[in-house]
């Protein structure tokens, strides 16, 4: 009597058909993306593994020193050394390679989209619900089409990471460009700046601190996806966590887990430090 009537919409089926259609009709396109992404990841990964371990630690110490303090640098170096002693050195490098690739692609897509949204109200209105959906859709759900398009492996992981980590940098870029002081814009206009000059010389530099906050967020979210992404075959630290869960291996789980935490802390402090450097002299107006 009170039960829901027997009506079935087949939204899920339509999406299924759409994904199959995309997969077959845009095969070349997906192959191209696959090739570029996997080459990038492997390139970065190979390079990082090739680096002598002590040099990598020195670089991390130097970054920490430059952006925070010598103490922070030494602490960061100790974290990295510790991860090495867990026997997770190469897994860490793979994870860093995946995150770096994902973040680079995020910025390449995200910053121009954000700028466009700031300029065009219409585009902004279209994008906003899409960004909301990207952020709230459970991340496991888009792992499925990722496998369809790219098969199991690191590229699928990048794809899933992109969807999850892209929104903050887009949103904050839009916010940052829109938030540039009106009088500053007017004064640049009053000198006869072209649109490009305005963007390059005024809006982007003025917006940079906020954009950097977006980059920081995006990076952290990419890192948060590491474990989930390993379900579609991403290697690295996330894979070790997954293995530990399957084997109920507390020791490995903790070591891999704390390694991710260490990476998170280091990446967060360094990107924050970059933002702070830009923030100087931008408090006015």
């Amino acid at each position: 009597m009170g039960s829901f009537p027997d009506i079935r919409t087949k939204l899920g089926d339509y999406v299924d058909q759409l994904v199959s259609f995309l997969d077959s009709s845009l095969e070349g396109f997906f192959d191209f993306i696959f090739l570029v992404s996997s080459r990038t990841i492997n390139g970065i990964d190979d390079f990082l593994v090739w680096l002598p371990w002590w040099l990598f630690i020195l670089i991390i110490i130097a970054l920490g020193w430059y952006f925070k303090s010598i103490l922070t640098g030494v602490l960061f170096g100790a974290f990295i050394f510790l991860i090495g002693t867990f026997g997770l050195w190469e897994d860490m490098m793979t994870t860093i390679a995946i995150i770096l690739t994902a973040v680079i692609i995020c910025l390449l897509i995200g910053i121009p989209s954000g700028i466009w949204m700031a300029y065009s109200k219409g585009f902004s209105n279209v994008m906003r619900p899409i960004l909301d959906a990207m952020q709230t859709m459970p991340s496991f759900v888009y792992l499925i089409p990722a496998i369809f398009f790219f098969g199991l492996g690191n590229v699928s992981a990048i794809f899933a990471t992109l969807i999850y980590a892209l929104p903050p940098v887009i949103r904050l870029t839009e916010l940052a460009i829109r938030g540039v002081d009106k009088e500053v814009i007017e004064s640049a206009q009053s000198f006869g700046s072209s649109r490009l000059q305005m963007l390059r010389k005024i809006q982007l530099p003025q917006a940079l601190p906020t954009i950097m906050a977006g980059v920081n967020q995006t990076t952290m979210m990419a890192l948060a996806m590491v474990v989930i992404a390993s379900m579609v075959g991403a290697s690295g630290l996330g894979e070790q966590v997954l293995v530990a869960i399957n084997r109920i291996d507390i020791a490995l789980g903790f070591e891999a887990g704390i390694s991710i935490v260490f990476l998170a802390v280091i990446i967060d402090r360094i990107t924050n430090g970059v933002a702070d450097k830009f923030q100087k002299h931008r408090g006015v107006n």
Partner: protein, 402 residues
């Protein structure tokens, strides 16, 4: 003087369909009626102005009167909904974007209320900006920028950032940045409102100083009557988007167009607006050196005055004779020259009443007013100075003289 900027029936409407409101304005509907009927805000309502080359033209009004909207029409930061804006006889309202860019780069620069400085650039890079946009070579723009930084008194600060400077200094940067472009027209949108009173006064004087040197056409916005009358060669008063009166400060004070303006100027310090020539009396008696004492006495008796100025042939002041001295001189058979006194205070005809007060108090004789050629054009009694401070009609005081 030739016209530099001319506005013809400029209106600026804000809302969904601004153009649709123009016919209503032409029919003479009021701002309130239009807002009620169409939900459009009238920023500027049918403004026509004629601004002369080299003058400081002040647009004065309270907040919401449309003055900031109007000034942004001069460089099309606000594109007027209707009307024409002529700069050097070219209607810039019809310009395309590249023509407009050129006008902004070459003819017109703007100074902003909150300075509008680029916080990520050094002072030097801020001042260089306009030249950088025009692709002026690095060496040249550096040189021009440094000259302008020096001329506003900020030498040594060029490598600082705006947030390291005080408000007054920041506005100097704003001014230097605008002047670096060497524009014909300088738009100043309440440039000194954000500064404290002491700095404001200093900046006002400095602006007058700069204007003396450079002779730009300056369009200056303010809500402060005293500032308007101090700086403006002519002043336009705005209310509700309309220009209600245009005139010299003296004209506006003497003949306010309506009650609103009377109320507005009630608190004005008249002593800083009126000049000697506005309160002086034209002398109907002057004695020349060759006339002699008898003529002097006769002149004084005929005009019922107790002293008279003595001038040479070119109307240059020689001194003053009092009636007592003259009669005594005749008795003692002295000449006019013998009894002539020359402790007369001479004032220029453009000296402000404010500055006349101490002189009038100290002098025992009327103040002699001279023009640019040092010729005597009038005299001022203490009572005239006083009446200049309060009276609506200065000439009423004529009956007191002598």
């Amino acid at each position: 003087m030739e016209t530099k900027v001319k506005l013809e029936h400029v209106s600026k409407i804000f809302g969904a369909k601004p153009k649709s409101v123009i016919p209503m304005i032409k029919q003479g509907m009021s701002k309130e009626e239009i807002l009620k009927k169409t939900n459009h805000t009238v920023g500027v309502y049918d403004a026509s102005l004629d601004i002369k080359k080299g003058e400081v033209f002040v647009i004065m009004g309270l907040s919401g009167s449309g003055k900031s909207t109007l000034i942004r029409c001069f460089n099309l930061l606000n594109k007027p909904t209707d009307g024409s804006i002529y700069i050097d006889d070219e209607n810039i309202a019809s310009f395309n974007s590249s023509q407009l860019k050129k006008v902004r780069q070459e003819k017109i620069a703007m100074v902003f209320q909150h300075f509008g400085l680029f916080s990520h650039r050094t002072i030097l890079a801020n001042v260089e900006y306009g030249l950088e946009i025009k692709n002026v070579s690095k060496e040249e723009r550096r040189k021009i920028a440094m000259d302008n930084i020096e001329s506003v008194g900020l030498k040594g600060y060029e490598d600082k950032y705006p947030d390291e400077l005080s408000g007054g200094m920041q506005q100097r940067v704003g001014l230097a940045r605008a002047l670096a472009n060497d524009p014909d027209i300088l738009l100043m949108d309440e440039p000194f409102s954000a500064l404290d009173p002491l700095i404001r006064r200093e900046m006002q004087l400095e602006l007058l100083d700069i204007q003396e040197r450079l002779q730009k056409t300056i369009i200056f916005i303010t809500h402060d009557v005293n500032e308007a009358f101090k700086l403006g060669d002519r002043v336009a008063v705005m209310k509700d988007g309309r220009i209600v009166q245009v005139g010299t400060p003296e004209e506006i004070i003497e003949e306010p167009a309506n009650d609103y303006i009377s109320e507005f100027i009630k608190d004005i310090d008249r002593s800083k607006v009126f000049q000697a020539e506005h309160v002086m009396i034209k002398p109907n008696a002057l004695v020349s050196m060759k006339d002699g004492l008898n003529v002097a006495v006769k002149e004084m008796e005929e005009n019922g005055i107790s002293s008279v100025f003595v001038v040479d042939r070119g109307r240059h002041l020689k001194g003053i004779v009092t009636i007592d001295d003259a009669i005594k001189g005749i008795k003692e058979k002295k000449s006019l020259e013998d009894v002539l006194r020359n402790d007369v205070t001479i004032v220029k005809k453009d000296e402000y009443v404010n500055d006349l007060i101490p002189k009038a108090l100290e002098s025992m004789f009327p103040l002699a007013v001279v023009n640019e050629e040092e010729k005597v054009v009038g005299f001022i009694l203490r009572v005239h100075v006083l009446s200049g401070l309060v009276s609506d009609d200065i000439n009423e005081s004529e009956e007191y003289h002598g």
